[in-house]
Amino acid sequence: MSANPGLAYQDTPPFSAPLRFFLTAPLFGVVAGLVLLFAPGVLESRWTPPALALVHLFAAGFMLQVMLGALLQVLPVVAGAAMPAPARVAGASHLVLAGGTLALAWGLGRIAPEAILAGAGLLAAGLLIFLAAAVRALLDAPATAGASRTPRDLRYALAGLAVTAALGVLLALVLSRGLALPVPLPMLVDLHAGWGWLGWGGLLLAATSWVVVPMFQITPAYPARLTRHWAPTVLVALLAWSAATLGGHALPATATGLALLALAALFAIATVRLQSRSRRSTPDASFRAFRLAMFAALGGLVALLGTMLTDIERLPVVAGVLVMHGAFGGAISAMLYKIVPFLTWLHLTQAGIKAPNMKKLLPDAPMRRQLQAHAATLAVLLAAAVLPVLAPLAGLLLMVEFGWLFGNLLRAVRAGRRARG
């Protein structure tokens, strides 16, 4: 264990370690846009091959890449857990995960079993590299914990990621090798999605929000009862829902499914309420985007409720768009806009260079316009979920949104390079 776990500058991973994740992530969004643009009928159901490709480009490409990059940076700061050799862990897992995502998306979109298996295998290998380093860092972290629930909930989220990945590998084996399972395929897909959305994405977003929302937006703290019980309750409910679903018990499965929706809604509502009590009177673009993401999450939960109670044909696609693009996409973009300029500034300052302030590295105007493009894309994606003829337009907008995000992040990094002279 280091003499000053997580606190020292030398425990901060080199800038390149998280940055490689942050800069490649938007490119997967651009590729997802290409799929929408060129694959006909992609949004007609959640089961079309291009829709499966699209979902994985977004989830394993954009969301996972940013989340892992952010974890590299956040684990030392909030949990005192510094990864061994962060640059090498980042380099190896990043490359393997990126290759795995492309192979998997190709395999799912073109119905190519070998590519599905290769993609899932690479994704699992990349995650193993990353998770092994993260678990090692958490085991070495000091036991003296503060009042914050964040370190505990980050561990839960990593467990949720492991379950999601294991279910994904199982699905890949079913699709590519004809592995026979005692449960129907759609059921296993639902479990995979449920664990991915709530067990990994939701837990990670909440664990981060417990500290980020009150501290950066200067709001009151989340209610202690919520932060103490929310994540463990979600995990227990996910386990109960999985058991009931696998056991074929329809009523308990519906009841636990409803409980999961209610838990997710509780988090989103608590966040929106806190944000409305922010003392920062000038909400910046990132704050607004995070807020929009919470409303999209609530909309997505209502749509999911609809899918449980009715058979309305387009509702699953609407729910997917709201949860993935609206909620996770928006919240992640908002956080990237705080993380990348700050890390650029931090690494300049640590190198003893007089760094331009964050708004000089990345001004508000281009961020605001890109986030407006995000909102417009969300609207057209929702329209395209109902009127599939709009899918190419949505694809075009998706490419603009993520190309622009990439350009803005690159702008901050380049401004930092210029300051180095």
Partner: protein, 151 residues
């Protein structure tokens, strides 16, 4: 206030509120009020840094023998933040709203990631390692923070 962590975390939030007030006034172009709020924020923040550097950290260093450890890192970050604070004050004097907002945003993120480390790692370490003198030390810190902020 029973623990050092609770006391110092509470003071972090007090500083945040003063910061928000300065930022709000500056954004509205209320420069007189912004200057007053900025003055209160600056005094509170300096008092907090001073209390740590002169009272809390020396005790931690004496008991643990870690002089080149976490406290040195925190002192380094205090120095960085004092510079950004000065840049904010300079922008305020020039009434340059864009520059002020940029420096404020930078200080905000710097301050919060620093606070996260203190609240999650260093303060709990202080409470654990300074258990014998905790009550007395916390009372001394509280007196100092209260007195300096009002001075």
């Amino acid at each position: 206030m029973s623990t050092i962590a609770e006391l110092m975390t509470h003071d972090h939030r007090e500083c945040d509120h003063l910061f928000a007030s300065a930022e709000t006034h500056a954004a509205k172009g209320e420069w007189e009020a912004a200057a007053q709020a900025m003055d209160a924020f600056s005094r509170a923040l300096q008092a907090h840094f001073d209390a740590e550097e002169q009272q809390l950290f020396p005790r931690f260093e004496a008991v643990t023998g870690m002089t080149g450890g976490p406290t040195q890192v925190m002192r380094g970050e205090h120095a960085d933040m004092r510079e950004t604070l000065a840049a904010m004050q300079d922008a305020l004097v020039r009434r340059d709203a864009a520059d002020f907002a940029g420096e404020a945003d930078t200080l905000m993120v710097m301050l919060q990631q620093h606070n996260m480390k203190e609240e999650n790692i260093l303060y709990p370490m202080c409470d654990a390692r300074l258990a014998d003198e905790r009550t007395e030390l916390a009372a001394g810190l509280a007196r100092r923070l209260g007195a300096r902020a009002e001075a």
